[in-house]
Symmetry: C2
Subunit: 403 residues, 2 copies
């Protein structure tokens, strides 16, 4: 017996049949004697359809009105899910973001949760109701509806779990857990039973599209036990929590990220402040920089290379070209036919052989490395995109992750 | 310059083109220097689509969840309309029912407005915003979303106009005003420039589907000046207000209502309380009775005839049959192939010749009258449905309403 928060994404409730599948998962948890709070996203394509309706009318609508429009999507899914649970004969109530006390700041379309007033949810639980809460949305201090942006429903779920001191926050997805590699690339990829918050954060940001990063950060901060499960079939899933016996673990997974492009500034003058001026310029334009490498200076010049998301490449190049006189590189080169392949594992920093083993796997497969970056729990390399899948398989084998 | 409340129905905002038509009507009123509050219904078929989604999942959903679901419809239309007004370059904000302070009782699906907290709407007007309010919906004391039932958006508009002391409440419909008869039946039917609340009430309840009755009652109670206008093309419309010079006016219009069925209880025992027992029985089952006729008793029996809405006929008959032992009629007869044709006019009661003139028109057209009922401002007859259109034309001609 405990308090369980469950989160279901839009594809899990895309039609009546799936809504009933989800309803049964919920009522089974309830029947086991748990208090159940459910966070649900808008059905399947609802959000895209609403955006399309808006675009017909106004290509640049205010974000405030866009949030008003989009939040109707979850209002539809929560009431339909509640009706399905009613049909199964269980007590249930649906609550919009504002009814559930999800207080946010006023950054429409990318609002951040500031506080959750749990009074209403708590009182519905005390009435033995299953509580269905609209994910992705909240209310600001002006009583206006806000949305939390991409992955917002994960964040809603984790935040509710933290505020209600839930025993576990179950994230139902279309995969049945976190794997050592993408099972579509590596046939014998293995599901992990447990993973630490930090490892999950690295995996999420490295392209394993399981959990939204913000929600993992929040889970870590408030020590919410996360569980990643399949909404399609029953399986144990992966638990994300604080893991202490770090030494036991080494490499937990290998990921590939194709959404990346490399930019190199060649022969920049080797004076202090050059790197700062380049990256502050990009930051001013909201362009996130990932891997950064600076060559050792020679002839009073140095090369600066870094990666950005593919979608930011054009803007990054035009910003750099506009400011060419300030930065004064001899040349600006770029390549968007690259992938970032990374290994993640909390034990890595204390095992210096790990990076070498990864490079060995790539060498044996005759794959050239363009850039290397490391952190305490990951090693990333930038390689040609054509080599990426082969690299993932080779690394997975080298570390014997299937066992 | 003044404060104008405008109401647009679902068909007026059914697609992007119509949304812009409505947006232009609104911004023209705003440009003339008025404060503008707009009440809008859900787009075209949205409500039906949402009901269909619900029925796929639960044939008998709770009304609370149904209201949660349906209220999303207006949330979509208000935000889209606001986006259109933004596109035209005017300051605008959309508000849901609860944001606009529409407080109701807790009768989900048929809630009644109890109070309007105008603070938010007033403050948005003070910021020079055009204010778009979701019709048909409100919030109860538990902070749960309610809907007002059929014609609810008219009621929302009139109630807002009353609470804001608006100068006029303009109801935009798919007709361009109130006519002396249905223009589809009577080719030379004439648009009325003015009509009194009471006449409008009789016309509305008699089947002239222009304005919802509850909204007219509320307009009369709070002395809100109503204007019925076309949302499709510019025309003067009809003003509904308190009219004093009653003597000038006679018959204002003729209406037909096919949604009616007659029930006759034959040879009921002629003792006190019989009629009471019949009609209290029906009232208990929420069956509204319209025309009532009781024959003069003979042989210690009397006949009681009355009409109900066609949709209530089956239930009324089964209620009466179940209680046959109490009422003890010799026979129960019914006929749902009838129509109610009525003339309405505030001057009628002081002009005894009016009813006779109506009957004469029917006689000359060889139309048989089954029942007659009169009030201070109307005369209704029940006739065979096949004769109804001919009757409307004949009466319209007899009273020379086209001139």
């Amino acid at each position: 017996m405990g308090l369980v928060v469950q989160k279901f994404g839009g594809s899990s409730v895309a039609n009546a049949e799936r809504v009933f599948n989800v309803a049964r998962t919920i009522t089974e948890t309830y029947k086991e004697g748990n208090e159940v709070v459910v966070v649900v996203s808008a059905q399947g394509d609802t959000t895209d359809e609403l955006i399309e309706k808006a675009m017909e009318i106004n290509k640049k609508p205010s974000k405030r009105e866009m949030d008003m429009l989009l939040s109707s999507g979850e209002q539809i899914s929560i009431s339909l899910l509640a009706m399905a649970i009613e049909a199964l004969g269980f007590p249930v109530i649906s609550l919009t973001g504002w009814q559930a006390g999800m207080k946010t700041n006023s950054n429409y379309s990318i609002a951040r949760l500031k506080k959750i007033d749990t009074e209403r949810v708590r009182s519905e639980l005390d009435k033995n109701n299953i509580v269905i809460v609209a994910g992705f949305q909240g209310i600001n201090k002006y009583d206006d509806i806000t949305t939390l942006g991409r992955g917002g429903s994960d964040t809603s779920a984790v935040a509710l779990a933290a505020a209600l001191h839930a025993d576990v926050c179950q994230i139902y997805t279309d995969v049945d857990g976190v794997y050592t590699a993408d099972p579509r690339i590596v046939k014998d990829a293995k599901k992990l039973d447990e993973i630490s918050y930090d490892e999950m954060l690295e995996l999420a940001s490295l392209g394993a599209n399981v959990l939204n990063n913000r929600s993992v950060e929040m889970a870590k901060k408030y020590n919410v036990k996360l569980m990643v499960l399949s909404s399609l079939h029953k399986a144990a899933g992966t638990i994300v929590k604080e893991v202490n016996d770090v030494e036991k673990m080494l490499v937990r997974g290998v990921t590939r990220d194709n959404d990346t492009a490399r930019i190199s500034l060649l022969e920049v003058e080797d004076t202090p402040g050059k790197a700062f001026s380049v990256f502050s310029l990009l930051a001013k334009h909201n362009i996130n920089v990932d891997l950064i490498i600076q060559s050792i200076g020679r002839n009073n010049t140095k090369d600066i290379s870094f990666t950005v998301a593919s979608s930011n490449l054009d803007e990054a190049l035009s910003v750099l070209n506009e400011n060419k006189s300030v930065i004064a590189p001899k040349d600006i080169q770029w390549n968007d036919d690259v992938s970032k392949v990374s290994i993640v594992g909390a034990g890595m920093v204390t095992n210096p052989g790990v990076a070498a083993k990864m490079f060995e796997a790539l060498y044996k497969s005759n794959i050239n490395i363009h850039m290397i970056a490391t952190s305490e729990i990951k090693v990333s390399v930038l390689i040609d995109r054509k080599d990426a899948e082969r690299a993932v398989v080779a690394i997975h084998d080298e570390f014997d992750m299937a066992n």
